[in-house]
Amino acid sequence: MLRLLSLLLLIALPAQAADENVVLGLSQDRVAITSNFDGSDILVFGAIKRESPIPGGEPLQVIVTVSGPSEPVVVRRKERRFGIWVNIDSVLVDRAPSFYAVATSGPFSDVITNTEDLRHKVSIRRAIRSVGADMNIQGAQSFSEAVIRIRERAGLYSIRENTVAVDEQTLFRTSIDMPADLTEGAYATRIFLTRGGQVISSFQTTIDVQKVGLERFLYTLSREQPIVYGLMSLAIAIAAGWGASAAFRILRNT
């Protein structure tokens, strides 16, 4: 009987949990890269909509992730050969986002369990997938760790614990600051609600990061009309060279 009851409870729990949903707001849903772009702060805020009263037990936790477009990355490792440092082996990391930020409302291990992390690929380590690693290479794992290390140092990957403020288990907000070195693309933004480490609800939206104005024009021209772009570059270079020379001569003669 007791066993049946606990089983019923287990079935009932997720159903009840799904009653809590995210209503999201973003301070901006597109980031425009202009010539003087030097990073952007995006305010992510929202509320939890529920029909029933706030369930007891573990408090509600919120995780916000923002990830840039994923691309394969070749990681090369150097070793000493004949006295000089040479790239010896390489591993293809099949999918690594160009930017990845995780903000949580508490210490990461308290907010989400390992299993749930694995399922939803929340942590930085899970967001990177290395396939095609040559099994002959020892410690293929250290290659994907190198990606994380290098990009963390560049400020592209970050985990920000305790940066999501949750009020009354209903309102939450956080601010994600994006560095200046952004690549273009759709940045997937995910919000997870968890209780006791279990994900009870999630929500997904995208932030568009795009070059605009002059940046957009130059980029498009360089891709679609490379010959025109190349000739334009040369023309500008020669004009600048001639202009400076002429200007300098006038300056000297007066």
Binding site: I33, S35, I227, G241
Partner: protein, 307 residues
Amino acid sequence: MQIYLPIAEVSVNAFLLLGLGGLVGVLSGMFGVGGGFLMTPLLFFIGIPPAVAVATEANQIVASSFSGVLAHFRRKTVDLKMGFVLLIGGLTGAALGVVVFNYLKSLGQVDLLVKLCYVVFLGVVGGLMFVESLGAIRKARKQGGKVTAKRRQRGWVHALPFKMRFRTSGLYISVIPPILVGIFVGILSAIMGVGGGFIMVPAMIYLLGMPTKVVVGTSLFQIIFVTAFTTMLHATTNYTVDIMLAVLLLVGGVVGAQFGTQIGTRLKAEQLRILLALMVLVVCVKLALDLLLQPAELYSLGAVGGH
């Protein structure tokens, strides 16, 4: 002031770029080198992706060389005839160099080979020039400041056919050595992402026996066309020319080059050569140390299959 570069996709300080351009411009005007062998490693250092740095640098060299060569034209220190002969070789070499570059890329060791090229050539050229100009200065001191330009002995260079008179240089030699020098420098410039002046200048002085004053202008003249060709090649195949970066570098560069040319005319030929030799050696030592010392980060990231 931060500025976002559309092709490199990084944000850098505009004044830093202007400053770098200016500094390298001064050197370029003084020595008649494009300055690429200094600028390209500097760009890597401030975080510009190598492919973009190499391609954009070619474009920038066009501007600083053009500015420099105008100053030399006014002083009539450009041997146009010799320049065209070198150019024929240079363009052929650059095309060959791109083929070689792509082959090395497919082997996956292009970074290492480019660096080794730098160390070997900078070392050899810098060392030879240093020793030679030191000797010339000593000799000048002994003779009480009177420098007698020693003519090259008539060696194999003068025994070759297809002779041509180069009036400005005061030479009557075969066109084969200049064309070969052009091809060689063209190959190197495509592989190393530089104008090739630091090889061209000593080759003209020691191999062809041209007077130092004419060498600088002629080298600049030839570099303009080879780097323009390289720029077009990069712009159309790799899409890695960043015009925004180029403009910032060249604004600093062309101004610097004008000052450099003025300084260059005030220095004696030997002093000019010994300074260039020292600069080449410094870059060489720096690159050699990078290869010899254990890097702080053993891993490096790269894009898959080019761009």
